[in-house]
Subunit: 332 residues, 2 copies
């Protein structure tokens, strides 16, 4: 077994990401001590029941004290307040990182509070599910997923390498880019898809000509795919929208332009234009599969819900994640 | 074993739906004879290799001759031409049905060609995947899925019951409604989701600030979900757009209004509005799960692509469908 990378790791925030980190850190023995902080007493209590750390506190500063690595896994809008809060406890030589989906904003919020001698390295593991809270985490979350760093000018290469090694041992592949490019890229691959999903589910929920129960009943015709993303954590996604505003508005404008053009093709019966677009997009799916970013199974492999064989497979898979996760009530 | 319901069934069109029907009809012994028709010689040859029927022809009229049940499974825009083609061969007392996703148009196209004494019962099994062609079909496709009939005034109850029994033995649950309501309902639960998915994948494919390879590489952050629907058969979806135009334009207008309002909330930093919408949509997902319309597994159960355990599960599941389906090249 390889030896621990850090003597003490502080996990500030113990939701889906924080609790998944706790589980993989424990499994891979990446530290001698995990301090868990959550500002919500109830969440902290649950983390304790799940045995996610060595000590537990609602005081982020106490958790950060003496830590070699501090990972801030809170909604993007709360990063600045956390940095300010923990600042007095940060040890010389410590690495401070985060997992937020909007890097320019996180940097603007946190950097002013980082003392000299502390290595602040903004990070973003592209990993998650539509579930949230400490029960939703699992050790395999980062397996084969990208973790993107947006290092500031003058970042210590040794600290960056140490943090990279940590994420690699969590299962991730590492990339680095500048914060602006990160924010533009995530706006199209992640933020726009979530916003569109939230929007279409809202539109369906508001209809008067088709009842809500019909929308649910017939949702396997396509709609259900969108309900998954639209079930993601509301606080996290509110903050992403507020903190990556410019890139998101740019992508929304392009999407709406394209949609207006598509709508016009439908109105005027331009079958050739429709066929061309629908053929081009099929090739994109092909690339996603070839690059190993999705399973090549019809309907994501979850075809016949309720079919005895599939139910058996579901149980098989659920059994591979902690029992607590399988038993979580869905809406927290 | 129950006895066959029909002496001879003609399958006009042998793509995803037609070939899935062939497989389940064969497995459940629902007829003594399956006649397969496809206007494409190559598709017909493939159907023959897969042993999907008892005889094979590119002439739909020949397949329909003497059949007790004729199932037209072709793109919606081709239904009228098929009805006209097979008309002279339709036997008195035969049941003629289809599987199209736009019922008012199918009725307008087919009904004028239906001879007296033939029972025309428009139908729509809400089942499918993003794959197409005779290799993509599998016997479990209709398991626990709805099949909606939109019977015309004066439909013979005995014929309707016989067709219902057929679909129940294919695994389906039966619903009936009027064609206009069907078309409005499908516009929101199926057509709009597909159109939105096609559109966002097109938008991403056109970007110059983020490269195509980055879009693919980071697609697991949300985007990949949309690529699945956007990989659906271009001909089928072109025809759906052209043949359910009014209902689709109505839903697109509502979606765009809502998106403009959401965009405004992002621009003006209205966090409360965003949080409220994102919370409301989460409850919809909850209902979809509770009603058994989707699996309650994070990321549809396909979390860690490339993870040894998941690869094993994929192989397990692929093995449950015909080997030919697993070996199909993705883009046809």
């Amino acid at each position: 077994m390889s030896k621990p990378i850090f003597e003490k790791i502080a996990l500030v925030g113990i939701g889906l990401i924080g609790s998944s980190l706790a589980r993989i850190i424990c499994r891979e023995v990446l530290t001698g001590h995990i301090a868990v902080a959550s500002r919500t007493a109830e969440t902290l209590q649950r983390a304790k029941e799940l045995k996610l750390g060595d000590d537990y506190t609602t005081d982020a500063r106490e958790a950060a004290r003496g830590a070699d690595l501090i990972i801030v896994s809170v909604p993007v809008g709360a990063c600045g307040a956390v940095a300010e809060e923990i600042q007095p406890a940060l040890k010389n030589g410590a690495i401070l990182t985060d997992v937020g989906s909007a890097k320019a904003s996180v940097i603007a919020q946190m950097q002013p509070h980082v003392p000299d001698g502390v290595h602040f390295i903004p990070g973003h593991p592209l990993a998650g599910t539509e579930k949230s809270g400490p029960d939703a985490g699992f050790a395999e979350l980062f397996e084969n997923r990208w973790c993107i760093f947006t290092p500031l000018p003058g970042t210590d290469p040794a600290a960056l390498e140490k943090l990279s090694e940590f994420w690699r041992r969590c299962g991730s592949k590492i990339d680095t880019m500048d914060p602006q490019h990160h924010d533009m890229t995530l706006a199209i691959v992640s933020h726009l898809p979530h916003i569109i999903a939230y929007n279409i589910v809202g539109t369906a929920d508001d209809l008067e000509s088709v009842t809500k129960s019909e929308v649910i009943k017939y949702s396997a015709s396509g709609f259900r795919d969108f309900t998954r993303l639209a079930a993601s954590d509301p606080t996290m996604w509110r903050d992403v929208c507020l903190h990556n505003k410019d890139a998101i508005l740019e992508m929304l404008a392009r999407f709406s332009e394209d949609l207006a053009s598509l709508q016009r093709a439908i109105r005027w019966g331009d079958g050739e234009k429709l066929f061309d677009l629908f053929t081009r997009t099929r090739a994109v799916r092909c690339s996603v599969i070839e690059s190993g970013q999705d399973v090549d199974l019809a309907n994501f492999g979850r075809q016949a819900v309720g079919h005895p064989q599939v139910v058996q497979e579901q149980q098989y898979q659920v059994a591979s994640v902690p029992i607590a996760a399988a038993a979580t009530p869905y809406v927290s």
